[in-house]
């Protein structure tokens, strides 16, 4: 072959290979009557020795058999489903799955990125239990009367405590602290009687400090932002009480440990190792302690959120849902919603498959997710199945479930506010000379700037 001809052949091969590659990368069109959707955030391979993922795959097969023409492709993004920066990166890159997971606080950024479809016209036909779902699970995903995601997981925060450490410290594990004052007293008792243990532990970095600062404000009947979302509200006696209390526990009682600037895995790793007496959390944090950080269910119990001198006035509530990617066809949207209904919103199926969970030695009986309306058929069915298969000592959660505290939703621009509130939390937990008034005045000004900017729209 002459050089000239060789070049022509090479050029043709290059063009053909680029063309084929691009064709392979582009979305393949579904044949008539057939639809393929990708779904993210399945259980991790490492969860429960792979049993949960195995069950997910069985669910996919069952669903596909019952819905001929629909193919589900699972996309694992590892632990990134619990890592908001990765979610934002995928969203901005447009690489999220067709059916993608997001937090209740994510709606604004999803809409700004123009990344999700309006699901309103499709819901009635595809989600049989829609009317049984609590309004506070639906509301965070509604904007301008349109529903952009299907909430399937909801929690309210409470006080998680280690019964074993309570007993070791001479405290009654059946009488956990009900107020912040009790928390301080119990934390001091645990830290002084069990060496190397933090009686109470708290976050102060990676936005989690601000998240818990907000939860503590809710419990005292306050909030970091005014009800209309226009004024910062942290230069208040309630906020001062939160910080003063933590500072006194750190430097007065020495009951919250020396390692600070903790984020979610830091605290839960220490908790799983039996080094934490109490912390604020949702029931699923106990699941994480056991599944991810190798702790024991039998050590842990939950109480309602502590209040200031009495019952808490509010408990931070949150959760997650599934969005459907912008640009999906109506058939893909229907298929995606049917899958969410099957896997996440049907008693006895998917996340509510207690028979499987019991057989896999998973906990059954945790008071989460809280998504069903009280008195609804779905709630009754779910409760019956949960009781029939329970593997936990339900008494460990009876205080939490028996005295429900009003759920308060996270504020708009939550992550920006949390990032600011990390500062005061970190300061009072590391600096014995931290000036609480100055910290709050500073945080107030910073939050106001965030709100002013957000309200410019």
């Amino acid at each position: 072959m002459s050089v000239r001809r060789y070049r022509k052949v090479a050029a043709l091969a290059l063009v053909a290979s680029v063309g084929l590659t691009l064709a392979a990368c582009s979305k393949s069109a579904d044949q008539a009557g057939k639809v393929t959707i990708t779904v993210d955030c399945p259980p991790l391979k490492t969860d429960n020795g792979g049993k949960s993922l195995e069950q997910w795959n069985k669910d996919v097969a069952t669903f596909e058999a019952a819905n001929s023409g629909i193919t589900i492709k699972t996309i694992s993004v590892g632990a990134q489903c619990d890592n908001p920066p990765d979610f934002t990166a995928r969203l901005q890159g447009g690489t999220q799955a067709d059916v993608f997971y997001g937090y209740m606080t994510d709606l604004q950024q999803v809409l700004d990125a123009n990344a999700a479809e309006d699901l309103t016209p499709y819901i009635k036909d595809t989600i049989p239990n829609w009317d049984s779902i609590l309004d506070n699970i639906k509301a965070p995903f509604i904007d301008g009367g349109k529903t952009y995601a299907i909430g399937y997981n909801g929690y309210t925060m409470g006080l998680v405590y280690n019964k074993t450490l309570f007993s070791q410290a001479g405290l009654d594990p059946n009488k956990p602290p009900a107020t912040w004052q009790d928390v301080a007293t119990s934390a001091k008792a645990i830290a002084s009687k069990v060496p190397g243990v933090a009686g109470y532990s708290e976050y102060s970095a990676g936005n989690t400090g601000g998240w818990h600062f907000t939860a503590s404000l809710f419990s005292r009947g306050s909030a970091p932002v005014s009800a209309d979302g226009k004024k910062a509200n942290v230069n208040t006696p309630e906020a001062k009480a939160v910080l003063e209390n933590l500072k006194a526990m750190r430097f007065g009682d020495n009951s919250v440990g020396t390692k600070q600037l903790q984020t979610w895995p830091d605290l839960l790793t220490a908790a799983a190792a039996g080094k934490v007496g109490m912390y604020l959390g949702a029931p699923d944090s106990i699941t994480a302690i056991v599944n991810t950080f190798k702790g024991k269910y039998s050590d842990w119990a939950m109480a309602p959120m502590p209040g200031d001198g009495g019952a808490a006035k509010g408990a931070l509530g949150g959760g997650a849902g599934y969005f459907i990617k912008k640009g999906s066809t109506p058939d893909q949207i229907r298929a995606g919603l049917k899958w969410v209904a099957f896997e996440d919103l049907t008693p006895g199926s998917g996340q509510f498959n207690y028979v499987f969970q019991k057989s896999a030695n998973l906990p059954v009986g945790l008071p989460q997710p809280l998504i069903w309306k009280p008195g609804s058929a779905a709630q009754k069915q779910d409760d019956d199945l949960k009781k029939a298969n329970s593997t936990l000592n339900l008494a460990d959660y009876s205080l939490y479930t028996g005295s429900p505290v009003k759920a308060v939703a996270e504020p708009a621009n939550a992550q920006a506010i949390y990032a600011i509130l990390d500062g005061p939390m970190g300061a009072v937990l590391t600096d014995p000379n931290a000036n609480v008034d100055a910290l709050l005045a500073d945080a107030q000004a910073k939050i106001q700037k965030v709100l002013d900017d957000a309200n410019k729209k």
């Binding site: 920066p85 969203l91 190397g196 102060s204 992550q415 600011i420 970190g426 590391t430 700037k449």
Partner: protein, 315 residues
């Protein structure tokens, strides 16, 4: 013996005039150099997609704002917002402090280690491996080791050693006054192996005659370093200086792993972490782009300085 004939080259003026040639058409020149262009294509495409396009896109994004899927031009708004971000001042202060300290530690220490290593006649290979080992360690793993070392309170490894020799305990990354120093020490330990090897390679390229001559002239080790080593490695030193400035101004993983990102009251926040925070924690890509452009301009000055200085040193 006959004299060797000397054939002298004709003087330029005497050379026959070159016939005037018609300039070939562009397509001919392109075809003639097709193979060369094809070899260049891969690099150009890579740079275009992964370096130049993102840079242009970043500049454009820094003047835009995307809300509800609609992108609009907003002039200098993003720059103003970033300028007014309360963490903006601390981030610049921390970045400059980190860069300054990293130059003192990360620039001088590897050079000194390389000079010392170069003096060894035996076991130099083993020592090189030892010095380079931390570079092989993934940065996240290396920094997790420092997390144990820096653990505050009496149970921390360094604090335990401090008390053993009667030194006061430190809060390390939990105290604003010691945060940056702690981060720089960890960063230097992790990264200096590469610099040491580069310095060492450069040192080994210096002719032994120069040292011998200096020794004959009565120069001690310090004078030899000052008058032989440094002048002979000046180009590498200036290159490493620039690379060090560019790399350290972009420090990120150290505060992320050791100080929860921001540290106590923004004592650890660097410019790149602030950029990350805006882009991926606050979903504010336009603000992050504005900050990125600011940092790019500063780094551009250093790069220009290097380009300007380089020919002089070659002279």
């Amino acid at each position: 013996m006959t004299a060797t004939p000397v054939i002298s080259a004709p003087a330029r003026s005497q050379a026959a005039p070159r016939p005037a040639t018609r300039r070939r058409p562009r397509w001919y020149r392109v075809r003639r150099h097709l193979t060369g262009h094809a070899f260049l294509l891969g690099t150009v495409v890579c740079f275009a997609f992964f370096a130049w396009y993102p840079m242009v896109k970043e500049i454009l994004m820094s003047f835009q704002r995307t809300r509800r899927g609609v992108t609009s031009w907003v002039g200098w708004d993003n720059y103003e917002r970033i300028w007014n971000d309360p963490a903006f001042g601390p981030a610049w202060r921390n970045t400059l402090l980190f860069t300054g300290l990293a130059l003192v530690l990360g620039y001088a220490v590897p050079f000194v280690i390389a000079v010392v290593l170069n003096e060894f006649r035996h076991a130099q290979g083993y020592l090189r491996v030892l010095v380079y080992l931390p570079v092989i360690l993934p940065p996240a793993a290396g920094l997790l080791l420092f997390k144990y070392l820096y653990s505050p309170g009496p149970d921390g490894i360094l604090n335990y050693l401090f008390s053993a020799v009667g030194l006061p305990q430190s809060q390390f990354v939990q105290s604003p006054s010691t945060t940056i120093v702690s981060l720089v020490i960890a960063s230097t330990w992790l990264n200096m192996g590469g610099a040491v090897l580069i310095y060492l390679a450069s040192l080994q390229g210096i002719s032994g005659d120069l040292y011998e001559a200096a020794e004959i002239e009565g120069a001690g080790i310090l004078r030899r370093v000052w008058h032989v080593t440094i002048p002979q490695t000046r180009l590498i030193l200036s290159l490493m200086f620039l690379l060090q400035v560019v790399a350290t101004m972009q420090f990120f993983i150290e505060p992320l792993i050791l100080a929860g990102g921001n540290g106590v009251e923004d004592s650890a926040t660097g410019l790149v972490y602030l950029m990350y925070q805006h882009a991926f924690k606050l979903a504010d890509l336009n603000g992050a782009a504005a900050l990125g452009v600011m940092l790019m301009l500063v780094l551009l000055v250093f790069s220009a300085l290097y380009v300007w200085l380089s020919p002089k040193q070659e002279d």
